[in-house]
């Protein structure tokens, strides 16, 4: 499979602070890649370097084989970005916002109409952005990033601050996009979201990538396989499936026939991260 995003020892210093520390990874075409971490872990700085908004202090990065620092005129049309802030022109309508960027990309306005229909904003497209809900604004941001049919979409915290229904809509849109073959680079706080959407995830902590694999492999590698056993209405026990003592106790309970119910307890991505980073994520 073709590699479309590459980072090799990417580093960014802000005066005395190192925001991103020699980060390396490769992302394949059509993949949904998640970069997970706390606030200030280095997610947005990594995105800003890959999208050409910040020059790396050292290291190299490439988009579809083109250097992110020196070949921006080639890399810019290949990428679309949904920023972590809802940076739309509030006093312009949704349609005007999209038309502006269509003009900058040299795209006909009928394409804007198609996108407006795709994000289901036909009835509100001629109203000012300041009257939109957060979910609607987020949909406009996604439409703006898609205007020029980019190969890669960077989504920086796309569901932050959204109600569950809007967040679900955005996740469905991301899934639909992935089906069209677009590569998606996603940062999020929400572990369930990353687990649901991403083919692979990387955990970033203090500017360093501490783990990178598929969510399944990470859970297997770092999570603990356990079962919850209900013995009576008020008595439940948890047993590890890797600890020999726990396995012996579980076998004993099963042979006695005292178990009412038994449930597997799979490790969640959040547990993996807590184990790796030692802190709990914002829910």
């Amino acid at each position: 499979m073709k590699t479309i995003i590459e980072a090799h020892n990417l580093r960014r210093d802000f005066k005395k602070i190192t925001a991103v520390r020699d980060v390396s990874f490769a992302i394949n075409e059509g993949e949904i890649f998640g970069l997970l971490g706390h606030n200030g872990a280095g997610k947005t700085t990594t995105i800003r370097m890959l999208t050409g908004q910040l020059r790396p202090t050292s290291g190299e990065g490439a988009i579809d084989g083109f250097d992110i620092a020196t070949e921006q005129s080639i890399t810019k049309p290949l990428i679309g970005v949904v920023f972590d802030s809802q940076n739309l022109y509030e006093r312009m309508t949704g349609r005007e916002n999209l038309n502006l960027f269509a003009d900058l990309y040299g795209i006909k306005h009928y394409c804007v109409q198609e996108l407006i229909e795709l994000i289901r904003l036909q009835h509100r497209s001629n109203e000012k952005i300041e009257t939109y809900s957060n979910g609607m604004k987020q949909r406009v941001l996604i439409a703006r990033a898609l205007l020029h049919n980019p190969k890669i979409i960077f989504l920086d915290e796309p569901t932050r601050g959204l109600d569950p229904t809007s967040a679900r809509e955005i996740r469905d849109t991301i899934k639909a996009l992935a089906k069209t073959g677009v590569t998606i680079f996603l940062t999020t706080h929400y572990m369930e979201e990353a687990d649901e959407l991403c083919n692979r995830v990387a955990f970033i902590e203090n500017g360093e990538i501490v783990a990178l694999d598929t969510p399944h492999n990470l859970k297997l590698k770092y999570g603990e396989r356990r079962v919850i056993v209900t013995i009576t209405e008020h008595e439940k026990k948890s047993f590890s499936l890797v600890d020999p003592n726990d396995i012996q106790q579980l076998a004993s309970l099963m042979s006695n026939g005292t178990i009412q119910t038994i449930h597997s307890q799979e490790a969640a991505l959040e547990d993996v991260f807590i184990k790796l980073a030692g802190q709990e994520f914002e829910k």
Binding site: G52, Q53, K76, P77, F83, S85, Y89, L100, L104, G106
Partner: protein
């Protein structure tokens, strides 16, 4: 820089400025003040001459018939002096008894002129009276003149007003204030707001460069400055003298001030910083216009490094039809434009390589 992308961004900012109350206020405030003052204080330029003659004279009639002359007849020579001392008139004229007869008989009557100061207004008044006397006599030098300037020291120095009266120069002052407001505050606010709202990030991901974004804001500043300036000139009867030079100065002046606004916007990190920098800049930039309206000032030439100095002086000269004297103002303003442009290029490169 890409002209097409600059035009797209400038069109967006032109519309956005009108829709944003804060920016709209910056654009219309100088216009509203100028129009209001024009509406409520629509005094035409008048030359105030005070005169004492012991016997009736044709001179008062001849001067009184002039539309722009306001003549005040005094009962004594002392009252003429008092009127000049009180700045009630620019020129005082004390005639001898039987002035008209003496004039007709070529007796070269002694006339005393009292000037408030050495201002162009006083000098113009003196010249006007002398020319009117000339018309009443067949002789080339019909009178013996004695001229006394009451406050000669005050008027030593430079006058940016030239031959324009205060009322006419007020148009230049409002024009300069409008250009400073649109150039400095509007342009810099557009730049800073783009950065604060983070819409700049979105634009920089698109094919637009930081230079495209920044220069489009300067274009918006120039457009609003020219439109606003033209409205001020049109409504306040400012299109007099050499109109072409006035418009050329308006264009170069707006460009210089808009580039200065761009520089301020590039350096200011947020609106609070901008309000501080902008406020600090606006006052000195409007000084030449404010000092200019007061007349001659011995220290005003220290402000020559300001683009508004040459703008104000140049437009005053153009309105007075003295096109031949504008060259140095045009050259200085153009040089200043290039210097500011150089600073803007430096700040843009600094931003783009950040």
């Amino acid at each position: 820089m890409n002209i097409k992308r600059m035009a797209i961004l400038a069109r967006k900012d032109l519309i956005d400025s009108i829709r944003t109350p804060r920016l709209l206020l910056i654009i219309i405030t100088p216009l509203v003040i100028s129009l209001a003052i024009g509406l409520f204080f629509n005094d035409k330029f008048t030359l105030k001459i005070t005169l004492f003659s012991p016997t009736p004279t044709e001179l008062t009639t001849a001067l009184g018939e002039m539309e722009f002359v306001d003549i005040l007849i005094q009962d004594t020579a002392a009252e003429v002096r008092l009127a000049i001392e009180n700045n009630s008139a620019a020129v005082g004229v004390i005639l001898p008894e039987n002035f008209d007869n003496a004039l007709a008989n070529s007796e070269f009557p002694q006339v005393t002129f009292l000037l408030a100061d050495n201002s162009t207004e006083s000098q113009a008044g003196l010249s006007l009276v002398q020319q009117t006397v000339q018309l009443l006599s067949p002789n080339p030098s019909p009178i013996m003149s004695s001229i006394e300037v009451l406050e000669p020291d005050i008027e030593q120095g430079v006058s940016l007003r030239g031959n324009l009266g205060k009322d006419q120069f007020a148009v230049v002052m409002f024009l300069a204030m409008g250009l400073v407001s649109n150039g400095i505050m509007l342009v810099s606010t557009l730049v800073v707001e783009e950065r604060e709202r983070k819409t700049l990030d979105a634009l920089l991901i698109s094919p637009a460069s930081y230079s495209d974004v920044a220069m489009s804001k300067a274009v918006v500043g120039v457009i609003y400055s020219i439109v606003g300036g033209s409205v001020v000139l049109f409504t306040q009867s400012g299109f007099t003298g050499n109109i072409m030079f006035t418009l050329v100065l308006l264009l170069i002046g707006s460009l210089a001030l808009s580039l200065l606004g761009l520089l301020v916007g590039s350096l200011a990190e947020n609106i609070h910083a901008l309000n501080s920098y902008g406020g600090l800049l606006i006052f000195p930039l409007t000084l030449p216009a404010i000092i200019g309206i007061l007349g001659t000032n011995p220290y005003i030439h220290y402000l020559q490094f300001l683009p508004t100095y040459h703008l104000v002086q140049g437009i005053a000269l153009a309105m007075d039809g003295q096109a031949e004297k504008i060259t140095s103002n045009l050259i200085m303003l153009t040089i200043q434009c290039f210097v500011i442009f150089g600073a803007v290029v430096w700040s843009l490169k600094r931003r783009e390589t950040a």
